[in-house]
Amino acid sequence: MWYSFVEKNSAATTGASIAIVLGAGVAGGEFLVIGNAFLFALLAALAIYGMARYRGIGSETMVLAGIAVMYLFSAVTSLLQYVGSAEQLQAVVFWTFGSVDKSTWPKLAIVSLVLACTVPYLLYRAWDLNALAEGDEVAASLGVPVERSMMVMMMIASLITAVIICFTGTIGFIGLVAPHITRMVIGGDFRTLLPASGLVGALLLLSADSIARSVLAPQVLPVGIVTAFLGVPFFIYLFLRRRNA
């Protein structure tokens, strides 16, 4: 579901850009940027939900709708960057790097609460996810209510992504690399894949953050840059190795 993450990243960046460049948002003070990022990430999810519902739910429809939404939000962000001042542009670009620098215990508590409410449910539905990975038709024939399940899963994934992105900015590649690395190692059973992917993702982020803090110390690099430098070559290496095997 990496495409789902990409389009919400894009939408959250647009929300943050509106807050930074126009100073407009749904919340005030320190929650101006956070509130906008969260709202726009959810808006993206709803837009895809609407389009997929109109055209009929299917993995391909969701991917195409996600790509279309991503380009739309990217265009809005580009426009805002074009009209913004140099300082505003710098602030937007810095936000897109993503960072865990501004993490606080209350923010962590909010993220933990959302995860505590949603992850057990996803684990409970792990067999449905296993079946859906085989394709919509197969899943339906195995007794999965495909449309309803995909909608529920998408809304939960959107909520989790939105609530994390709004606090950290867009830290790329973890969401793409961690599940794939985990799947290559332990297989595709979502009962173990889901928690293991979370752990591998956390481990990757912590490693990248440690490198970001030490490589040019005392200067701290944005962690999103490090995740891309580390994660992508490693992923390509694993992918090519698997293809050759």
């Binding site: 067999w127 079946a131 085989e134 394709g135 038709e137 339906a140 007794g143 209510p145």
Partner: protein, 263 residues
Amino acid sequence: MTARLSVEDLTFAYRDREVLRGITFPVAAGEVLGLVGPNGCGKTTLIRCVDGMLTPSGGRVLLSGREIRTMHRREVARAMAYVPQSAGNRTSSTVFETVLMGRRPYLSWTVSPEDEEKVAKALDLLDLRGLALRKVAELSGGERQRVMIARAVVQETGVILLDEPTSNLDVCHQMAVMEVLSGLAEERGIAVVIALHDLNLAATYCHRLLVMKAGSVYGYGAPDEVLTEEMLERVYGIQAVVKRDLSAPYMVPVRPGRLQGGA
């Protein structure tokens, strides 16, 4: 006696375009029904309507007398399995994991030793034991098709629907797949509905054939009654000779204009 599967006056339309009209047929326990007809005649749509993946605009589908619309999706999955046309090439699962998925309608979260035993038996039945730990995507077309049938077997249903399971296989693997399906019908009393392109294969292995033409039923009956030169000309628009010197009828197509001279 109630048929294992009954389709009654089924109609389906994509928006304003009617694709299936008044389709009616029963399938008894232990019977193999072949759905035949030219490309685009509605075989796949019919199978998807029967399995409940598409909602018919009219008519009804009954599983052992119960209308499918009134059943929960999980109940349907316990009564009817589906083997799609091409499957398994996008999965990263192993053969064992894929076949185990057939137990999904019965599983909550954990997999019991009984479930694993059923998977092992299905792997043996389909001669897949040696491939259990291989990735499905790495298998040949014939092996992959056997995996999908094994998954349908562990679903322990009274009906199996198959959408052209032999389309990418050579004649040897086509026969192997059909032998397995015939065996399942005979030994376990499963009603098998199978869409096929190869009329000779259909006539050899199916108890009855349903011939479709442009979304309607052109003919229904035993292969001897249905596979005729007239049907081939009207439904497929080809000239052919139907021979009846073996246990099942078979057709030999004739190039246009050569019937009198060559056949």
